[in-house]
Structure formats: structure tokens, C-alpha cells
């Protein structure tokens, strides 16, 4: 959902798609040192979730939309043949 909002916020989609991608950088990992010898390796969930996330083409629905509401239902009414038709178009 955050992604959708981001997409709506950025007017230039081309920049979003082809612009430089923020790559998760391993060197920036904050690694605590234990006794000056060992490093605590903790998977950084927030940074690496994109690189190792589940490979799936499904697009999860936007939870901001509540399809129990009449106004949501009205917002897509004209997508159906039962809705309003444009000038110069006819059901025939």
C-alpha cells in the first residue's frame, strides 16, 4: 500500500521506474562489535527485504479501499455495461 501511495505521489513514473535504485548497501550495516573481535551479524529486515523477498507476481490489494462502502462501489460503476455510456458509444 505504501508503494501505491508513493506511486501516486511521484508524478514522473519514469523516474520512479528507471531512476537510480536505492540499493541495499552491506557496508552500511551497523555491526556491533563484541569484545573487539566478533561482529554481530543481524539480518537487516528493512533494508534487504526487497532483495530476498518472495518472488511472486501477485499484486496485493490496497487495504485503504473498503468495498463495503457505497461510494467505493460507485467509483467503478461505469466500468460495467450497466453504467453510463459516453457520447457516441452505444451498447449495440
Amino acid at each position: 500500500e505504501a508503494f501505491l501511495r508513493q506511486q501516486a505521489a511521484i508524478p514522473n513514473l519514469r523516474k520512479l521506474v528507471y531512476g537510480s535504485v536505492v540499493v541495499a548497501d552491506d557496508s552500511e550495516d551497523e555491526e556491533e562489535e563484541l569484545g573487539g573481535l566478533f561482529r554481530v551479524s543481524r539480518p537487516q529486515k528493512s533494508k534487504r527485504f526487497r532483495a530476498d523477498a518472495v518472488d511472486c507476481s501477485r499484486f496485493t490489494p490496497d487495504s485503504a479501499h473498503n468495498w463495503d462502502l457505497e461510494e467505493m462501489l460507485n467509483s467503478i460503476r461505469d466500468c460495467f455495461v450497466t453504467g453510463k455510456w459516453e457520447e457516441g458509444q452505444d451498447a449495440a
Binding site: F3, L4, Q7, A8, P11, L13, R14, L16, V17, Y18, V21, V23, A24, S41, P43, Q44, R48, R50, A51, D52, A53, V54, D55, C56, S57, R58, F59, P61, D62, H65, W67, M72, L73, N74, S75, I76, R77, D78, C79, F80, V81, T82, G83, K84, W85
Partner: protein, 372 residues
């Protein structure tokens, strides 16, 4: 060594990288596959996918390091022919089939593949949805003809599997450029409510509630109930619903939902499933476009590989998977799409913003295809 082709990190978008590598002939190396995970390296389903890729190609070279965190892939020729594959049950057949749909038209000989495993689960697009959305989409690009079909022989739910699917696809030398800019209005809704190893009444209960939601919009709704019995019903119980909305101009929008696998998570009532699935279809209609959200990347790929002519397609909002796919297309084929946002006008009630994607095909021709 500079010539090991493209480098990527992480296991996400695994299939699209390998698919595009195969089509473009560029070598690819994927490193840091789950390198920070407690259980690092490739999973069984990814290994199974690589084996399937190896079966349909000829002369591919695949190297994986000992921990499975680095994969090197040098693609061979797409051969096709008759293939049988036992898909790993961690992911459903849809996972494998999505990649095959992208590869199949570019084989040397037409592909006839039998896939065994899980036909329906709640992660990937199921076989039923791909059958009713991806196949008509491919027909728009001129992939058609004798035997182009996807058949569910046996249904198998997660986690046990035991399903079987036959996919036959003819080859094409070139793709036809398309102009899909107006989806038209939705004229009918079709669907399949399936149930295996549970009471056949489940399917009817799903249909009732789904119809309740959709009847507010359109009267032409028909949802088939498909109850498979005996040997055709796989190893695990389950039920689910797929819904497809067909528009006047022949585009298809879909939604689907499956019951949670036995022993994982909370059980689901068929009534809730029917209602939620119907609302997901409304969400998909709200997004709109000529291609539904799970097939966006397939459409964009076929546009890229078209003749050197302009193709246009209207999509709903781009999914994260599609955005990454566009970046990969740029890496492998040096094609950038023109992306225009179309905002709906004030008085229109046609859902959210749409995106018009335009590109000129690379003029890819299938040199592998045998002449008869």
C-alpha cells in the same frame, strides 16, 4: 572476468531474471541468495525451477556454489518438445507456468509440457486464472493455433499437491504489435468455484456470497462449480474461487482466492472467501487497464519482443513485480518504455489512475523455430 554477463543480488525476481537471460542469450549471475538467512541458499522450489528450465533448453550451463548462495546461468537454446516435470510443492504450478508462458512462444518446436504438483494455492496465480487471462492475452499477440491450451487434468491443493496440468503452446516467429488502449466496459463475469476432498456443498456456498456482491453491478454472472473426485482430487483438501471479468474489447481482469492449506493458519469459511474474492475483483476493476495486474509483465515482455513497430497497452497501477521487470527489460534488451499516467476525469466513475505504456519492439525473431 568481465564477460560473465549481468550481476544481481538476492533471490527476489529469480524467475524473471532467468527468463530474460534465456530469451536474450545474456549470461547472468545472481549472488547473495538469502546469504543472511538462517537457512541460506536456494530453496527446493527454485532448484526445481532450474531443472525445468534445463529441460526445455538445450545446452544451458548452470553453476551453483556449495552453499547455494551464488548462481551462474549461461542460457542455451530454447528447445521445447514434450516435457514432463514434477514441480516442487512449496510453490504452486502457477509459479513455474508463469515463466513457461513467457518462454513457450520462442521455442524451437512447440511445447507440450505436463506439470505435476500443486495446482491451486494462496500465493501464486493459480492455473485456472492463467488459463482464463494469460491465454487470451497471448492470443492478442498472435500466439494462437492448433492445440494452444492449458488443461487441468487433476487438481491438487497445497500442501500435498498431486495435481496435474497439461500446457500446449505453438511457436511463433514474430510477435504481433498490439494497441490495447481501451479496455471497454465489462460485459460479463465468469468464474470457477472448486472444491476437492471437502463437501461439494462448499463450492455452492462460495458462489452464493460472491454473486451477492457482484450482482449489484451486472446480472450476467455465471460461476461454475467444479468438484473433482477420487484420483483427480489430489492429496489435500481445499476449496477456492477464481473470478474473471470480460470486457467488450476482449480484455480480462481476474481475482482469486484459495482456502488456507490444511494445518497452516486459520481455517476460512467458504462464505467469507466468496465475499473477499468478489471484493478483490472489484479492486482489480478499480485498478483497471487492459491487462490484469498479475499478467502485466507478460504483456510488457511480448511488447518488447515484438516487431519493430509501436505497441501500446493501458495498464492499471504498476505492481512492484512489474516495476522490477521493466528495469530488467532495460538491462537485458535496452528497451525503455514511455510511461504516461492517465488520470480519470471528474465525472467519470471508472476507478483509479491508469498507466499507458508505449514501446517499440526490438524486432526479435525466433530463429530457433523450425520451418515446415
Amino acid at each position: 572476468m568481465a564477460s560473465h554477463g549481468l550481476d544481481y543480488d538476492g533471490c527476489n525476481f529469480f524467475r524473471q531474471r532467468l527468463v530474460l537471460s534465456t530469451l536474450s542469450g545474456k549470461r547472468v549471475r545472481i549472488k547473495n541468495i538469502r546469504s543472511k538467512d538462517d537457512n541460506p541458499g536456494l530453496r527446493d522450489f527454485e532448484a526445481s525451477f532450474i531443472r525445468l528450465l534445463d529441460k526445455v533448453t538445450n545446452g544451458s550451463r548452470i553453476e551453483i556454489n556449495q552453499t547455494g548462495t551464488v548462481l551462474f546461468y549461461q542460457p542455451g537454446l530454447l528447445y521445447g518438445g514434450s516435457v514432463e516435470h514434477e514441480c516442487n510443492t512449496q510453490r504452486s504450478i502457477g509459479y513455474y507456468l508463469e515463466a513457461l508462458l513467457m518462454l513457450a512462444p520462442f521455442m524451437k518446436t512447440s511445447l507440450k509440457v505436463t506439470l505435476k504438483g500443486v495446482t491451486n494455492d494462496h500465493i501464486d496465480p493459480t492455473v485456472d486464472v492463467l488459463k482464463s487471462t494469460a491465454l487470451p492475452l497471448m492470443k492478442q499477440f498472435g500466439i494462437d493455433g492448433e492445440g494452444f491450451d492449458l488443461k487441468v487434468v487433476k487438481r491438487g491443493m497445497a500442501p500435498g499437491g498431486g495435481g496435474e496440468v497439461v500446457f500446449i503452446c505453438p511457436t511463433r516467429r514474430t510477435m504481433r504489435p498490439v494497441q490495447l488502449t481501451d479496455p471497454g466496459k465489462i460485459k460479463r463475469i465468469r468464474g470457477v468455484a472448486y472444491s476437492v476432498r471437502v463437501s461439494p456443498q462448499m463450492a455452492n456456498r462460495i458462489v452464493d456470497t460472491a454473486r451477492g456482491v457482484l450482482n449489484k453491478f451486472i446480472p450476467d454472472i455465471y460461476i461454475y462449480t467444479d468438484h473433482m473426485k477420487g484420483a483427480n482430487s489430489g492429496k489435500s483438501p481445499g476449496f477456492g474461487l477464481t473470478l474473471v471479468a470480460e470486457t467488450m474489447n476482449g480484455s480480462f481482469l481476474s481475482a482469486e482466492m484459495s482456502s488456507t492449506p490444511q494445518g497452516q493458519g486459520d481455517p476460512m469459511l467458504p462464505e467469507d472467501l466468496g465475499k473477499n474474492c468478489a471484493q478483490m475483483l472489484l479492486e482489480e476493476v478499480y485498478r483497471g487497464g487492459c491487462v490484469d495486474s498479475s499478467n502485466q509483465s507478460l504483456a510488457l515482455l511480448l511488447m518488447t519482443l515484438g516487431q519493430q513497430d509501436v505497441s501500446k497497452v493501458l495498464l492499471g497501477p504498476l505492481s512492484p513485480h512489474t516495476i522490477e521487470f521493466l528495469r530488467h527489460i532495460r538491462d537485458f534488451f535496452q528497451i525503455m518504455f514511455k510511461i504516461q499516467v492517465q488520470k480519470p476525469s471528474e465525472d467519470e466513475r471508472k476507478g483509479g489512475d491508469k498507466v499507458l505504456m508505449t514501446c517499440v519492439g526490438v524486432g526479435y525473431s525466433n530463429i530457433n523455430k523450425t520451418l515446415k
